[in-house]
Subunit: 339 residues, 2 copies
Amino acid sequence: MKCRKCGREAVINMRQHKLALCDAHFLEWVSEQTQRFIEKYEMFTPQERILVAVSGGKDSLSLWDVLLRLGYRADGLYIGLGIDGGVDYSSQSHVMCDKFLAGIQADLADRRSQTADPQLAPADSNWKPTLHMVDLAHVYGETIPQVAARTTRGRGKPCSVCGLVKRHVMNRVARDGGYDVLTTGHNLDDEVAVLLGNTLSWNAGYLLRQAPVLPADKPGLARKVKPFFRFYERETAAYALVRGIEYIYDECPFAEGSTSIAHKEILNQMEKDSPGVKLRFYLDFLRAREQGLFAQQAAHVELNACDKCGQPTSAPGRCAFCRLWEGKKTAEVGQASQV
Amino acid sequence: MKCRKCGREAVINMRQHKLALCDAHFLEWVSEQTQRFIEKYEMFTPQERILVAVSGGKDSLSLWDVLLRLGYRADGLYIGLGIDGGVDYSSQSHVMCDKFLAGIQADLADRRSQTADPQLAPADSNWKPTLHMVDLAHVYGETIPQVAARTTRGRGKPCSVCGLVKRHVMNRVARDGGYDVLTTGHNLDDEVAVLLGNTLSWNAGYLLRQAPVLPADKPGLARKVKPFFRFYERETAAYALVRGIEYIYDECPFAEGSTSIAHKEILNQMEKDSPGVKLRFYLDFLRAREQGLFAQQAAHVELNACDKCGQPTSAPGRCAFCRLWEGKKTAEVGQASQV
């Protein structure tokens, strides 16, 4: 298979685009496509400050890499969940994020010294990316497995608690750090698996909200965007590989046997028989919703500020996150340490 | 595995219902459930005249069997499509329908002579089921493969033409015969495969119309109902087997490689991992639509009577069916011969 652009040996063939590319042109293509998605879906501008939630995996580190190389002012946020799973999962993930940051800082400094390309330092030539770190055990006194075991929300699997905690911490760091936008590395496979789940149960609330861009719930809060939502998982993995980004290969130990993994397998089988079906499923969904397929739900949820942390919540007093820690001594809205 | 009702050896285990039943209790259960669905979804009443579209397959013959045993006045309609496919498909299908009719007529006569059960002859004790037969080659001058090959609508596969022709003929026979309701043997697997296809492409028009009961498009036309839409395919097959109904095992030769078969395989795999997912997917869809998930589409399609056949059509002059035969000499709206 030859690269469509230069005829060299291709490293990847994307059947849904009928496009094979060599290593250099694949990196370029990912970068160009990301920029195109950012503009098309009005995710953010070069003037805005961006927070990238990084897990140490291929998607989020690749996203951070692409955004920085495109000249965006993107800082990272790593949340230490305290998950071990026999593979020292959380510590290893953190190491990957640190390594990535050291590498990209050196890269960017090199490129800055070699070129006068203003895109590499759009607003402030002294700016360099940082990594925020919030360690749950340190800040809140418990790891994810611990808090899940203590509360009914955990019910054997900590995934629901983990999602709640991550959303809260991401919001808080984005707000406290004055970020305009919070980005996550969700790829198409992630999004389509969620869409399939929401569709199988015809969950109106979720179907109406699932989107590559979620506006800020309240003034002052960051909007949430997913610049990689049109890339297949194998493409983000290929990007990390070709770019030489080290990342943690293990899935979260708690993900095993999850519905979303089962849905991904189903969708991959469909994709094999019908290349592009995953992408069309998601894009057709966005198009149909845009064209008014779904009724505007009359039941508008009123959000108010949590008594304790101030984040938007539909609950009358404290938000679900703050209630999670009630009765538990914490270091109280701890500062995110910075690298 | 034991029958839940009597403890005898079960012939089927329905994981989605956590229900295993012996042969006798399974037959009883299918019958009771069918009656329940007919009432719950207001499909028809014992006073109405029913036309069952029969293909010679397990679903439609089982449906006809159940309806007759429940005491409904249900006649059959067999459409001779002229499909051979190396297995003499259409002729064999017709033979199965004839055989079934002979058998059930004898059965019903026996039961009538033995009991005074008025349900067996609800309106007229002399009534007995008949089978309408419309042979396309005879009535319209061409078989399905022939008309598909002649028209652009065929495009290699005659399935689209076949669907159009069958809908037209079913409507016509129902109208000419004064039937109140047209029933088809679609089972849950059929319905869910279609739903998955409509969902993957987010086809608003199809999503809004897919239902177990479709009201008559125009006064005087029969409504269309699917009394078996909640039974899994393996259940209708088991019913035919246990009841001793002979049916044609072959799929239509043109169905091979179809999208709906691919979707059925995907859904069966999901069902294996998560028993009941097919049923929930469909019922949740009906519930969500009932609860107003979808917007009422403003674009109401105005139907008018076809210039030639009088059936409702969105086209200004002749309907798609009549245009299909233009330039082709036909025996002109031939009479359905009756057995």
